[in-house]
């Protein structure tokens, strides 16, 4: 039995399953679907009625960002024989994880009151409980801190990517169907970084200037980082065949950290700052070095784009917006 349970998701991971094309049909014919809100009309109550541990594979997609998704994560763990954190959000927090730069109130204020094009003169914010006459309506309540799946329950397997690369999805499903799953705790993907799979030519890192992607047309054959574009390749797990650099856009890190890394953002910070201005570092004074480093405008957003909840500091602290 297979269940696909959503957290704070975008359905992009559902698409990656459907994108398998004929293989998707093969898989769907071979399994019983216990729950898949995006594609099947099965009810949550039916899932809840199943015996615990009876669903062979549960794919949990999306981060945990409110009390409902937290409940779904716990439900997924109860019903699953093998629980897979499916996609970058479940594995590391993903894009929803960036909400950790603010508090719950900060995010709600921004979305419902402060954005320039929003007209909300009474400052109405969504609240958990609303009374309409005799009826009480409840909606989920946001957590202050977005979490990855393994920050709520024990996870058996990880399939990163935004969305997960088709090849990895196909491999993982094949392994599951044939009963040949790898040891628990395995992260599907390469043991090396994206650079290992990237076909671009790497010569010498002589980066004096950090350039934004729109500022020039990059040479399609040369390493993007060498051309001054921040590419997360060095700090990101491979397994995606470096599809983004192949398509002339820099890696953004959606496969998460490399195997030995404790913090994807810190590793990229270290790699980039070590290598920038390498040739001239000895002859420069502090202010000149600072000018080069200052070109990296948003280290937090750039280096932790997908992995903020799983970073060492997990969220922004102190006075929050």
């Amino acid at each position: 039995m297979l269940a696909i349970i959503p957290g704070a998701n975008c359905a992009g991971c559902d698409y990656s399953l459907l994108d398998l094309g004929e293989k998707a049909v093969e898989v769907l014919m071979a399994v019983d679907i216990a729950y898949w809100p995006t594609a099947a009309d099965l009810k949550l109550e039916d899932l809840e009625k199943l015996p615990d541990g009876s669903v062979d594979i549960v794919l949990f997609e999306g981060a945990v960002n409110n009390d409902e998704t937290e409940e779904m994560a716990k439900l997924a763990r109860r019903k699953a024989k093998n629980l897979v954190a499916f996609g970058a959000c479940a594995c590391f927090g993903g894009i929803p994880g960036l909400a950790n730069v603010a508090s719950r109130d900060g995010v709600l204020q921004k979305a419902y009151v402060k954005t320039l094009s929003t007209l909300n003169p009474n400052g109405v914010l969504p609240s958990k409980l609303t009374r309409l006459g005799d009826e009480e309506l409840t909606i989920p309540e946001f957590l202050d801190t977005v979490k990855s799946l393994n920050q709520v329950v024990n996870v058996d397997y990880y399939l990163p990517g935004c969305p997960p690369p088709l090849k990895l999805v196909a491999d993982a499903l094949a392994a599951a169907l044939s009963g040949k799953l790898p040891p628990k705790g395995t992260v599907f993907g390469s043991m090396k970084s994206v650079c290992d799979e990237c076909k671009r030519v790497r010569e010498e890192k002589r980066i004096m200037e950090i350039k934004r992607y729109h500022q020039f047309i990059p040479d399609p054959d040369r390493c993007l980082l060498e051309q001054g574009i921040v590419c997360m390749g060095p700090a990101t797990r491979g397994g995606c065949d470096a599809v983004c650099p192949t398509m002339n856009v820099p890696c953004r890190g959606c496969m998460g950290p490399t195997p030995e890394s404790q913090d994807q953002g810190a590793r990229m910070l270290s790699a980039l700052s070590s290598v920038v201005g390498l040739e001239v570092e000895a002859g420069l004074g502090d202010e000149e070095v600072r000018k080069i480093i200052e070109q990296i405008k948003d280290p937090l957003g750039t280096f932790y784009r997908y992995s903020l909840p799983r970073s060492i500091l997990r969220r922004v602290w102190g006075a929050r917006e």
Binding site: K147, Q151, R267, L269, S273, S274, A282, I293, L313, R314
Partner: protein, 146 residues
Amino acid sequence: MGEVFEPNIVVFACNWCSYAGMDLAGTSRIQYPSNLKVIRVMCSGRINPVFILEAFASGADGVLVTGCHPGDCHYMSGNYKTRKRVMLLEKLLEQFGIEKGRLRLEWVSASEGERFASIAREFVEQIRKLGPNRILEELRKEVALV
């Protein structure tokens, strides 16, 4: 008012210059605060930004990174990397809400025992003013680890 806040400070010191400088302070019996927890590394360039983040996440109120003066690195260029890494890390830490001043970089040579002691005293007072780092408390409260 209660007890005075005693900062918990982690110091990274390179084996060749800065650790020797601290040793000199010690052998010369120069008094400096005992708030410092010193970690010796072979070169300041060995310091992975992860160590500094871990220090703050583990409750350090301040982190002092020390190394050889630029040009004097025992391994030639390690400290140049340190300088750039710490600069970018300062920017990152501010974004994370860890106030400017909690991470500091100082070049200390093997002969600068007195200077190290005065840096230590100054840094402890600076951190005392900034107050305790509440991250560890909050981490334990807010985020359930499985």
